[in-house]
């Protein structure tokens, strides 16, 4: 892989220092998304590349600039005769309003140079336009927005194209958004290849995409988005072209490229990199067929469906409408031989508990009239649950034509979705399965669980019937060429057909359960662990078999494992994979894929698997906080005082006994609700009400200890335990560990506290016992250490700790899971002495780098807005004094201002929003505000002021500090940032025992 790696903030300064040190001859910038592209432009424009003689590889700078500067790009397109929607670039509301007066509404606003279209949106009138333009200008690093005619409701089509230095161009694939124009591509359900385009339309847009990549002179990959008129019949006006517009061009690999790569098996990034170093497409071997070259266009013999994964299960109160601003955190992809089966499989892959095909929101249930349903739930702006609304409307018998008119979703997709619904309602509902019916249902993609619900059986019964009748999936290869050439790629998907192409792998093998879609609390860290575990298995001569459903991952690269099953991570599909690889039992690694994989742990034995590493029971013990409580008590492991409660009365009783504030959490991690701090009975009752609504069940009520939160990642064989490192959270307990800044090594632990932490870790690892990875969260207060939570699996900090300590945690864990021991792996048990993430030689510069990397570093001068809740006033003093000392001007709302004056410091008082003034928002947007310190008012009641302040800060890109611990850390970092930060390769830091901090973005 890479020879030298740097873990440094991605800023021009830092990059210049790296270039100065390494003196590279070339820079490849088109594979790192918008971030990479922006940096390359800045490096070039600031003369750094020229100064050090660094050549920009692949796509030339002029092409990047031309594609990114909307006005220049528009002129280029017009010059080659490609249609673009009428638009202007605006820097002010006035310019936008003048344009609107000319072309009318609706209009679309997009900020220039932003990721995911942050700050954009559709404006239907002058008021909306004003808001959109203001926030767009603020979000754009160059203060520029594009305002253009809205093509709401047109078909949205994307082409992934590649070009080499000899001007050979190919299209890798095209994709069609089921959600027509108006919903960001990242929030759209997407199908590949396009389904509703005639050959003429397909070729027309393909030719246009190739003309564009040629005109730009791109060497590498490029993504072109089109809007196509949906209402033109192919038969009318035969010689005229169907009207289309070019919407967007990304002169780089993008989120869509990743999807296209996984959808076709064509490795876009790899080929782009080879083109960048001067290779021609026909000189690059096709890694899939090994016989043909990269100069061809993949032919698909299956249908791919992508569904975005939204975070609304965690943010119940969030605005769930979809527009031009992307809201999804991740996505799932499914492959099958029919659209219906592919869609239903993607639905299963989403892993939203209980939200299968048959799910309906409580508010829908009572609306039984189909037309009324469409009026009420499918006629306004689209929401994340639109697919389920379609199911519900069709279930009620709504007319396809009516739904089409309201949603503008193509009739073709609606008819296909209607087929699914009609099959469920007419053929499955209340019927007794027969072999023919069951086979038909499976071919259409119905999950065993859905068939069970509809026919009134249990999923296990459905599986038994299928086994009895020989109805099982086969696996087909993704081979880029629709079977025209013999292929060697080990990339498979399940389907109900006749021929199985995936015969069981011969020799030792193990299945790795992937981590599924990226969502809140389960990011790409787990994919990193899965990929490392595959490598570790290979080193030990065991063939890794990967199962995953997320196209945005490395684990789904077909060369990351010996075999890839691109399938949902649910019991049905894992059971089928195990059966196909059988006869079992087959070793399964479940500790690397986060919660997704762990959910399956206790079912593996029943479906032909054998968990490798920590047993299913030990996992269940740690996951069930109530069981764990008893277990820890028996071992004499200190835990914060508390108890469990299943009713508000019980909870209040516990809280009264131990005293407020209390920390409340669901007793089983899978409940999905986070923890909260209750300061009084009202908080507790409110939490309980919402917890019960969410079906959480039992709740743990623990004494809230205001100590330091410390986290450990370790690996154990059940008798020996290697503690890889102790990390300290900058925010105290109560802030979720995934939302905390962390510093490694812990900075404020006494030797005795460290020893106690290591001893407790060891004791827990032996008692469970753990065979593999282990993560424990502790609270430390006055030399006393309490255990807060134990996770016998890879944690999100494993990749972080592995990078900075060099201890290959995953590799050791895999060895242990396969029967080795800590000692045998050459890592004798050791006690971490704990030294230091941004990475640097000491804490403050490291923290400063994290802040810069997370985009949270305040400007070096300007105004600091402080508005904090009363409970926080005592603690904010040190922070206020710190900012004053650093020379910032203080601005505060009345209560906080009084506090500042009482310290004898100058302060400008500003009116609260609730007092009817917009001054605060104006200040935040003015560009004079260096940072905002705003803590939420007590509890989680609607905090309108705070919400608007935080939102304005995010939009204006002003660092917004909502935790006083973070704020204090920022002051510390600023005070010390006069000290120069260093820039060095990762390996060099490791040798020097560095300090590393992470910042939650």
């Amino acid at each position: 892989m890479w020879r030298i790696s740097y873990l440094e903030p991605l800023t021009v300064d830092v990059l210049e220092r790296i270039i100065e040190r390494e003196r590279p001859s070339g820079l490849l910038a088109t594979l790192g998304g918008q971030t990479g592209l922006n940096l390359a432009v800045q490096l070039a424009e600031s003369g750094v590349l020229e100064r050090y003689g660094v050549r920009l590889l692949g796509t030339p700078l002029s092409a990047i600039q031309q594609a990114e500067d909307r006005e220049a790009f528009k002129q280029l397109l017009l010059s080659i005769g490609e249609p673009v929607p009428e638009s202007i670039t605006a820097h002010s509301v006035q310019e936008a309003l003048a344009f609107a007066a000319r072309v009318g509404y609706p209009l679309v606003v997009r900020p220039a140079f932003t990721l995911g279209g942050t700050g954009g949106g559709v404006a239907n009138d002058a008021a909306e336009l004003t808001v959109r333009v203001m926030s767009g200008v603020a979000a754009s690093p160059i203060g520029q927005v594009l305002v253009e005619r809205s093509l709401l409701g047109w078909k949205e089509i994307e082409y992934e194209v590649m070009r080499d230095g000899a001007d050979t161009c190919i299209t890798v694939c095209n994709m069609e958004n089921i959600d027509p124009m108006g919903v960001h591509t990242g929030d759209s359900i997407v199908v590949a290849p396009s389904q509703t385009l005639t050959d003429k339309e397909y070729q027309m847009l393909r030719s246009a995409a190739l003309r564009i990549i040629r005109a730009l002179g791109i060497e590498g990959g490029c993504n072109v988005q089109f809007a196509l008129d949906p209402d033109r019949s192919p038969t009318t006006d035969p010689e005229a072209q169907v009207p289309y517009f070019v919407i967007e061009v990304n002169p780089r690999v993008s989120r869509s490229s990743a999807l296209a790569s996984k959808a076709t098996g064509y490795p876009i990034a790899r080929v782009a990199a080879k083109i960048a170093i001067g290779k021609r497409l026909h000189e690059i071997p096709n890694a899939v067929t090994k016989k043909t070259t990269a100069a061809f266009e993949p032919a698909l013999d299956y249908v791919v469906v992508k569904i975005p994964r939204w975070p609304f299960d965690k943010f119940a109160a969030a605005d769930r409408t979809l527009g031009t601003q992307m809201k999804a955190t991740g996505e799932v992809m499914a492959i099958d031989r029919s659209f219906e089966a592919s869609l239903l499989k993607a639905l299963r892959s989403l892993e939203v508990k209980g939200q299968g095909l048959l799910w309906e929101a409580p508010a829908w249930v009572e609306v039984t009239d189909p037309t009324r349903f469409v009026d009420e739930f499918l006629s306004a702006q689209p929401t994340d649950d639109r697919l389920w609304r379609l199911f519900a409307a069709l279930r009620r018998g709504a007319q396809i034509e009516l739904i089409h008119e309201r949603t503008r979703i193509d009739r073709w997709f609606l008819r296909k979705i209607a087929r699914i619904v009609r099959f469920a309602e007419d053929d499955l509902q209340g019927r007794t399965p027969t072999p023919a019916l069951l086979r038909a249902a499976k071919r259409m993609g119905f999950a065993d669980a859905d068939i069970a619900t509809l026919t009134g059986m249990l999923p296990a019964d459905v599986r038994r019937l299928r086994t009895q009748w020989g109805i099982r999936p086969v696996y087909k290869m993704v081979d880029t060429c629709a079977a025209e050439f013999e292929a060697v790629t080990p990339y498979f998907y399940s389907t109900y057909e006749q021929e199985n192409e995936a015969t069981p792998l011969v020799g030792p093998k193990a299945v790795i359960l992937g981590s599924g879609p990226i969502r809140i609390g389960q990011g790409i860290e787990f994919d990193c662990c899965c990929v490392q575990s595959a490598g570790a298995l290979r080193e030990r001569g065991v063939a890794p078999i990967m199962v995953n459903s997320n196209p945005e991952t490395v684990s789904t690269d077909f060369d990351a494992s010996a075999r890839l099953y691109f399938d949902p991570l649910d019991e049905e599909s894992i059971a089928a994979v195990l059966e196909n690889e059988g006869p079992g039992p087959i070793a399964v690694l479940a500790q690397f894929g986060g919660q997704t994989a762990l959910n399956l742990a206790d079912r593996l034995a029943a479906i032909g698997g054998e968990i490798a590493g920590t047993s299913a029971d030990a996992i269940a013990l740690a996951e069930d906080r109530r069981r764990f409580h008893d277990f820890a008590d028996a071992l004499g492991i200190p835990q914060p005082p508390g108890g469990t409660a299943s009713s508000p009365t019980e909870a209040l009783a516990v809280a009264t006994e131990i005293g407020y504030p209390v920390l409340v959490r669901p007793s089983y991690v899978l409940g999905g609700r986070g923890m909260e701090i209750a300061y009084g009975p009202e908080d507790l009752e409110r939490y309980f009400r919402s917890a019960l609504e969410a079906g959480t069940g039992r709740v743990l009520v623990d004494k809230y200890l205001r100590g330091k939160e410390v986290e450990v990642d370790a690996v154990s064989d059940g008798s020996e335990t290697l503690v890889a490192g102790i990390m300290e959270h900058i925010e105290r307990a109560g802030v979720h560990s995934g939302d905390s800044y962390a510093v490694y090594p812990a900075q404020n632990l006494l030797p005795a506290e460290r020893d106690e932490i290591v001893a407790l870790t060891r004791r827990i690892a032996e008692a469970l016992p753990v065979k593999g990875l282990l993560n424990i969260q502790f609270i430390v207060e006055n030399e006393r250490v309490w255990v807060l939570e134990v996770n016998p699996r890879a944690s999100r900090t494993v990749p972080f700790l592995t990078k900075v300590t060099g201890v290959p945690l995953v590799k050791i864990a895999v060895a242990i899971a396969l029967g080795s021991s800590v000692a045998a792996e050459g890592y004798p048990e050791m006690k971490s002495t704990g030294e230091v993430m941004g990475i640097d030689r000491s804490f403050a510069p490291a923290l400063w780098k994290s802040l810069v990397a997370a985009g949270l570093a305040p400007a070096r001068s300007g105004k600091i807005l402080v508005t904090v809740a009363d409970k926080d006033k005592p603690e904010v003093v040190e922070i206020i004094e710190g900012f004053h000392w650093l020379g910032y001007d203080l601005v505060a709302t009345s209560g906080t201002a009084a506090l500042v004056r009482s310290l004898g410091l100058d302060v400008t008082e500003i009116k609260k929003l609730a007092e009817g003034s917009q001054d605060i928002l104006k200040l935040i947007r003015s560009g004079e505000c260096a940072a905002v310190i705003n803590t939420p008012t007590l509890g989680k009641t609607v905090d309108r002021d705070g919400f608007l302040i935080r939102r304005a800060a995010v939009e204006a890109r002003v660092p917004c500090l909502t935790s006083l611990d973070t704020a204090l850390a920022v002051v510390t970092a600023l005070r010390a940032s006069a000290v120069t930060t260093s820039v060095a390769p990762l390996a060099e830091y490791r040798a020097l025992e560095p300090v590393v901090t992470t910042a939650a973005d």
């Binding site: 050959d199 038969t235 070259t293 061809f296 032919a299 008819r415 099959f423 087909k476």
Partner: protein, 371 residues
């Protein structure tokens, strides 16, 4: 052998119990088949599915095409005359059929095999099912087309027969055996007058320099492209004599694509040879350029003394990389040919050289006269 099958009624679920069930038709519910069909191949394999299109049986060489769109263009390409085409993309029929998408006056495929037949949602278009039915072309849906293609790839093009039966006779051994036996008795392509069937009437379109087009099964798009480039195109039937063509005093000659084996049409080959010789005898100032496409290219190859042979399973798709050997540039091309010009057989003294090559298998994709 071409027995017409009338299906008296839709069979009930009970009658079909235990059989492979198929959802090729665009019905919303658990519909039953109205007609079953089986493909029998000469290698003895049989593939049961559901019939669509016309009710008769079909026979021919079974080939596959990997294009993801353009099913009507494929079905109406005369180069497929004599062949049953398997489409590898699983959903076929999505946007219906319409006049402008036809490459000729009718579909030429002997039969069409798809994974799933889908009805159209596009205004003003006709379902693929109805289109094929109206021209008497049968289809087979619901089979594991990928498995079939893998077999064709491994064994090369195979002869096959589609037989249709009422649903209650689906999966019956004797029908399957009959299909295989019939497949083994099919005449080779060379024995059928495929080109003569495919050629169209004489016509003249466009304005500008005169291009004579020898229609051995031309695709409409070739004529459209020539006219767009500013040519007058006059098509001559495949049976035309060389002197008829030359007496029109064309500025250039195009010999079109077409079906079958170039070695099996001696009269057309002879006409081509005369045309090539006439061109060669002209001086540079009165040059008569000749362009051969597909079958036309193979005929020109034979005219200069080269031989032609069968490719293992032909080139059928829209993604074939072809390199122009003079510029190095690679074009992604749409192809449909079963035969190739043998490179080693190109006579060294003829003044012709290979100008472009297929990057997948290295076969000759273009010849050019060296001046």
């Amino acid at each position: 052998m071409k027995e017409r099958l009338v299906s008296p009624k839709r069979s009930t679920v009970a009658e079909l119990e235990g059989q492979l069930h198929l959802y090729a038709s665009e019905t919303y519910s658990y519909a039953t088949m109205t007609r079953a069909a089986v493909l029998g191949l000469e290698d003895g394999s049989t593939w049961w599915g559901e019939a669509f299109g016309d009710g008769q049986s079909a026979s021919g060489e079974v080939v596959f095409n990997t294009a993801m769109t353009g099913y009507q263009e494929i079905a109406s390409d005369a180069s497929y005359n004599g062949q049953i085409v398997v489409l590898t993309y699983p959903l076929i029929g999505n946007y219906g059929t319409f006049d402008r998408a036809g490459e000729s006056r009718r579909p030429w495929v002997e039969g069409l095999i798809v994974r799933e037949l889908v009805g159209t949602c596009r205004e003003g278009t006709i379902d693929l099912d109805a289109y094929l039915r109206s021209y008497g072309v049968p289809g087979l849906a619901g089979i594991d087309t990928r498995a079939l293609v893998r077999r064709l790839r491994a064994k090369g093009t195979l002869r096959g027969v589609i037989l249709q039966v009422p649903p209650h006779r689906s999966q019956t051994e004797d029908i399957a055996r009959e299909a295989v036996a019939t497949a083994r008795s099919i005449q080779p392509l060379a024995a059928k007058p495929l080109v003569v069937e495919s050629t169209g009437l004489e016509r003249q379109v466009g304005s500008g320099p005169k291009v004579a087009l020898l229609d051995t099964g031309v695709k409409e798009n070739q004529i459209r492209c020539l006219v767009q480039k500013g040519a007058t195109v006059k098509t001559f039937p495949a049976t035309a004599m060389a002197r008829e063509i030359l007496s029109w005093s064309p500025d250039g000659i195009v010999i079109s694509n077409g079906p079958g084996d170039p070695a099996a049409i001696p009269l057309i080959a002879a006409a081509t040879r005369t045309l090539v010789e006439a061109a060669a005898s002209r001086g540079m100032n009165r040059a008569l350029p000749i362009l051969g496409i597909c079958l036309g290219h193979q005929l020109v190859g034979r005219a200069i003394g080269a031989t032609t042979s069968r490719l293992p399973f032909g080139h059928h798709g829209a993604n074939h990389p072809v390199q122009d050997l003079r510029t190095g540039r690679v074009a992604i091309t749409s192809q449909n040919h079963e035969f190739q010009v043998d490179e080693a057989s190109i006579p060294s003294g003829a003044g012709f050289a290979v100008s472009s090559r297929n990057l997948n298998d290295g076969s000759v994709e273009g010849l050019a006269h060296e001046r």
